[in-house]
């Protein structure tokens, strides 16, 4: 099943390779279309897949650690706080390859703020978390807009940060993202059995043999690293991390050994498909930021989650 799913993902990547403003098809390859496929489409599809995987995995980890089905990089405020961190760094003239670090710092600060505000003795209230996340989102967005106003030249557009997309892709960015993703995924798959215990209340988890605080801190850091890295290169692509863990859970059960794997793969698939859509949806070769599409899909899903507490996807209140 795991292999089958991976093959499906590869198929989706291959298919989306041939979608875009310039018509290409596998049966009519000439020098020009091959050049486009190899130098523009392929890196972009791979980058979309890697970023989707990072966001999906981070969502799976956030929902577990916060014990909250509404959590992901976006709703926790981590993504926009990371974006603010990245924007501050660029304004201060950081070299591009160092930008992910201030982004991570920003993301962690945002996350700690939201966590402190929404948790009472280790129990996170889903609704308060979303509200605190909104606060971080608003403050970060206004911070980004302000910096854009001050440093007109050095920053990409505000839209880039708030509605992310894959505009500037190169293989070195892909390499960095892929390395970080594979390292965190490998660790997560290795240790997923202990992750399961974090789904229990604090004392039940601790008495079953996990270092609850240590593991939570570690997973917070890893999930935030994934989000911060993704945001520094692509801007905020919302809701991927919210949707896929739910779908993975509904299809393959709650066991984190499955959820970590399938959330990663489905995240990749979702973003590859959304990115392909963003390339063809507007006629005459214009492109949408992919964040618009994921936010639209994610927003609807979020609404459905909020109102329809379906048994199996949701959990008991209190």
């Amino acid at each position: 099943m795991r292999i089958l799913f991976f093959v499906v993902l590869l198929g989706a990547c291959l298919f989306s390779l041939f979608l875009g403003p310039v018509k290409t098809s596998p049966s009519h390859l000439n020098k020009e279309t091959f050049f486009i496929l190899w130098n523009f489409r392929l890196p972009r599809v791979v980058f979309a897949a890697v970023n989707g995987a990072m966001l999906g995995l981070s969502g799976s980890l956030y929902q577990l650690v916060l014990r909250n089905p509404l959590a992901d990089g976006f709703t926790t405020g981590t993504a926009s706080a990371s974006a603010l961190g990245a924007v501050v760094a660029i304004s201060l003239g950081f070299p591009a390859f160092l930008v992910p670090f201030p982004a991570l710092l920003g993301g962690l600060l945002g996350l700690v703020f939201v966590y402190r505000l929404s948790s009472r003795s280790g129990v996170v209230s889903p609704v308060t978390m979303v509200l605190a996340g909104i606060v971080v989102n608003i403050v970060s967005s206004s911070g980004i807009s302000f910096l854009k106003y001050l440093f007109e030249e050095s920053l990409s557009s505000v839209v880039f940060w708030l509605m992310g997309g894959f505009f500037l892709v190169d293989w070195s960015k892909i390499g960095v993202c892929l390395t970080v993703l594979l390292a965190i995924l490998a660790y997560s798959l290795f240790d997923a059995l202990s992750f399961n215990l974090l789904a229990l209340d604090r004392y039940s988890a601790a008495s079953s043999g996990v270092d609850v605080d240590g593991l939570r801190r570690r997973l917070f850091l890893l999930a935030t690293a994934l989000v911060a890295l993704s945001v520094s290169f692509t801007g905020i692509i919302g809701f991927v991390g919210l949707i896929v863990p739910h779908v993975a859970r509904a299809l393959f059960g709650s066991d984190m050994r499955e959820n970590v794997y399938y959330s990663t793969l489905m995240g990749a698939m979702l973003l590859v498909v959304a990115d392909a859509l963003s390339r063809v949806v507007v006629p005459q070769g214009a492109e949408l930021p992919v964040g618009i599409i994921t936010s639209l899909a994610g927003g609807s899903f979020f609404l459905w989650l909020l109102f329809k507490k379906r048994e199996g996807l949701w959990y008991a209140e209190g």
Partner: protein, 266 residues
């Protein structure tokens, strides 16, 4: 390092325990529980039962004092080592995400796993534990779809499945019906290991525990064996008028169901 399969060989020693939070303070100068002993902690609401149990388990840090199990100071053990010595059922448990009953009970085996996944031995133990608590038919049901009492039995099964020489339970039967309460308490009273449990119902507790700690305002007021529990003690501890009229014994002749002793005035 005591092994997990050496049940019944580990006792508890509490020395100079002090803990205070806000207006509440707890003080237990000395408490020793011998290996295999079955101890019930009783007392009115807010008397410190849960706090004492949580402190004994090492899940709260005391202001002063220490807890030893089998000669090992609890604070020096890693969470995993501790989980091989003692299992703990909190008063309130919660689970997020739709885990199945089997998955949850299996989680109790976590501290014993050698590899990255449960072995055949863990699966066998889990199935056996589930049978003991009558959960075998709901193995694939989702925990969150169960009733409160059923959920409690699942968490109890998870705790027993840990197979530790010491078990601490905070109101293990609070939500269970009469039959399941008796089954669970009988199971605990026959358990090879040391059992310390907070129980509210004196009628249920009396036949199943050997020793009773009565708490009031953060102190152990009485530490008595079952035979010495009397209506004076109960009246003082609970501030009620207790009459002595309990029935002993587990079954009646010609009847294989356990008997629920009922008292009219408590």
């Amino acid at each position: 390092m005591p092994r997990a399969d050496t049940r019944g060989e580990i006792g508890i020693r509490v020395e100079g325990l002090r803990f205070s939070r806000g207006a509440f303070s707890l003080e237990v100068p000395w408490l020793e529980v011998s290996p295999g002993e079955k101890v019930a902690i009783m007392g009115e609401n807010g008397s410190g039962k849960t706090t004492l149990l949580t402190l004994i388990g090492g899940f709260l840090s005391p202001d002063d004092g220490c807890v030893e199990m089998g000669g090992e100071d609890l604070v020096r053990l890693s969470p995993r080592q501790r989980a091989r010595i003692l299992a703990f059922l909190p008063q309130v448990t919660s689970v997020v995400f739709p885990f199945t009953v089997y998955q949850l009970v299996l989680m109790g085996r976590y501290p014993h796993l050698v590899g990255r996944k449960p072995g055949p031995g863990d699966v066998q133990t889990t199935l056996k534990t589930m049978r003991m608590l009558g959960l075998e038919d709901m193995s694939d049901r989702r925990y969150l779809s169960l009733s409160g009492g059923e959920q409690r039995r699942v968490m109890l099964a998870k705790v027993l499945n840990q197979g530790t020489p010491v078990i601490l339970l905070d109101e293990p039967v609070a939500m269970l019906d009469a039959r399941h309460s008796l089954t669970a308490l009988t199971l605990l009273s026959c358990w090879e290991g040391t059992v310390v449990a907070v129980v509210h119902d004196i009628n249920l507790a009396l036949p199943h525990f050997r020793r009773f700690l009565f708490m009031r305002e953060g102190q152990i007021l009485y530490d008595v064996y079952k035979e010495d529990v009397n209506s004076e003690i109960l009246s003082e501890v609970y501030d009620v008028r207790a009459y002595k009229c309990w029935a002993f014994g587990f079954s009646l002749p010609g009847e294989d169901r356990p008997v629920l002793p009922c008292s009219r005035h408590l």
